[in-house]
């Protein structure tokens, strides 16, 4: 190798390394915006409705945290299929006749601009006996029998949101239903009438109505001013997929209603902003927000509390898996969390509990 070629290569190596590192430094700092795409603005028009009334049929998915967590750990951890976990159904002091299982379900009453109304039942709860009592309390059983509920919106397949399906289908076997993509075969089998002995869940009333599986990546328009979005999240106890409802309330803004929000409330709000027209003003959120359901903490949740105000939310009807600690911190941070009445086995007034209602619009 001649000296000059060697020298050239040396210079090339020095300059190349320096150039590589310098471009790394420049592009990751001062030139960052050149490379990153602009934030999309939602353009899907879902129409508008007049108002939405939510009745919390049950938000107490279970009555003793450690029993539920203990059941999952004893079965082998958070990844074990929920259909093979021997859930505790007896001997729990705080439970429903000793049964730890409760359930999550919300009744949504939508009023449209022309004055007509529709009812959506969001989720079916867990313990059929408990759900029967809750449905009776709120008159949901009668509504189902009279075909007054237009849609069963199953947010996700989790045990506390879906295992109570029998309590719905025994009153209305042909109710139109929608599930998120990701539902497992056991879930479909349960809808068709199945018994699972280990978790003690069964359904003797085959679903005969329309069943729609909603895919992720798009906005599904259900009624004027009412839409749903599905997420592909993989969740504990071998569950996949979750969907949420979005309402466009005229002159108010968008209201988002969730079951558990496993995908994360910020992800949900971002998706709404990026897909739905008017998404820059999210007026209300309601449902489980899945932040500290087991009362653990992580400063990431504080980040969330600090970030929520910039979405412009005026009403927060959170409950269930949001966690009491989260609710307490949100209230202390000045977020508009709606207080409840702590009735019908809901423990604290911090947020909406069983039997509480909230109206958007």
């Amino acid at each position: 190798m001649t000296v000059s070629r060697r020298d050239f290569l040396k210079g090339l190596a020095l300059g190349g390394t320096a150039g590589y590192l310098a471009m790394a430094g420049v592009s990751s700092t001062v030139m960052k915006d050149v490379f990153l795409p602009e934030e999309p603005v939602g353009d899907v028009d879902i129409g508008a409705c007049k108002s939405v009334k939510c009745t919390v049929v049950s938000e107490t998915s279970w009555f003793n945290n450690s029993v539920t967590v203990g059941d999952m750990m004893k079965a082998g951890g958070l990844l074990v299929n929920q259909y093979i976990i021997p859930w505790t159904h007896t001997g729990v002091k705080e439970g429903f006749h000793g049964d730890n299982a409760g359930g999550y379900s919300t009744l949504i009453d939508v009023e449209f601009l022309d004055g007509t109304r529709k009812k959506i039942l969001l989720d079916t709860g867990w313990n059929s006996n408990w759900m029967r009592e809750c449905f009776k309390r709120e008159g949901v059983d009668q509504m189902l029998q009279k075909d007054q509920i237009d849609l069963l919106f199953q947010t996700h397949e989790h045990f506390d949101h879906f295992f109570g399906i029998e309590a719905v289908l025994e009153n209305c076997a042909d109710i139109p239903m929608t599930v998120p993509k990701g539902f497992y075969q056991e879930g479909f089998d349960l809808l068709q009438g199945a018994h699972f002995d280990v978790p003690q869940v069964k359904n003797d009333h085959k679903h005969t109505g329309e069943l729609v599986v909603r895919e992720s990546g798009k906005v599904h328009k259900l009624y004027p001013g009412v839409a749903s979005i599905t997420f592909d999240s993989s969740i504990i106890t071998r569950v996949k997929g979750e969907q949420a409802l979005v309402f466009n309330i005229k002159d108010k803004g968008l209201a988002v209603i969730t079951g558990c929000c496993h995908m994360g409330i910020i992800s949900l709000l971002q998706e709404v902003r990026h897909r739905i027209q008017g998404g820059d003003k999210i007026y209300a959120i309601q449902g489980g927000l899945h932040i500290s359901p087991f009362e653990d903490w992580d400063p990431q949740y504080d980040d969330l509390i600090l970030a929520i105000p910039k979405y412009g939310i005026e009403v927060m009807g959170c409950n269930h898996c949001t966690g009491y600690l989260t609710a307490e911190k949100m209230i202390k941070a000045g977020l508009p969390v709606v207080e409840g009445t702590a009735r019908f086995k809901s423990r604290k007034k911090l947020y909406l509990g069983n039997g509480d209602q909230i109206v958007f619009g």
């Binding site: 060697r6 290569l9 210079g11 300059g15 190349g16 150039g19 471009m23 490379f35």
Partner: protein
Amino acid sequence: MENTATGQEKKEKTGISWAGVIVGLIVGAGLFLLTIQIVKALMYSLTAA
């Protein structure tokens, strides 16, 4: 003592071609831009998260 390695390095230091350095800077910067495009293309989609 004759510090052979230092002498070597001194020789190396003075024997750098500045033309090479300039070409290297451009090539290096371009290689980084290429790297990030490759990485972006190869990364898994959101569902892998």
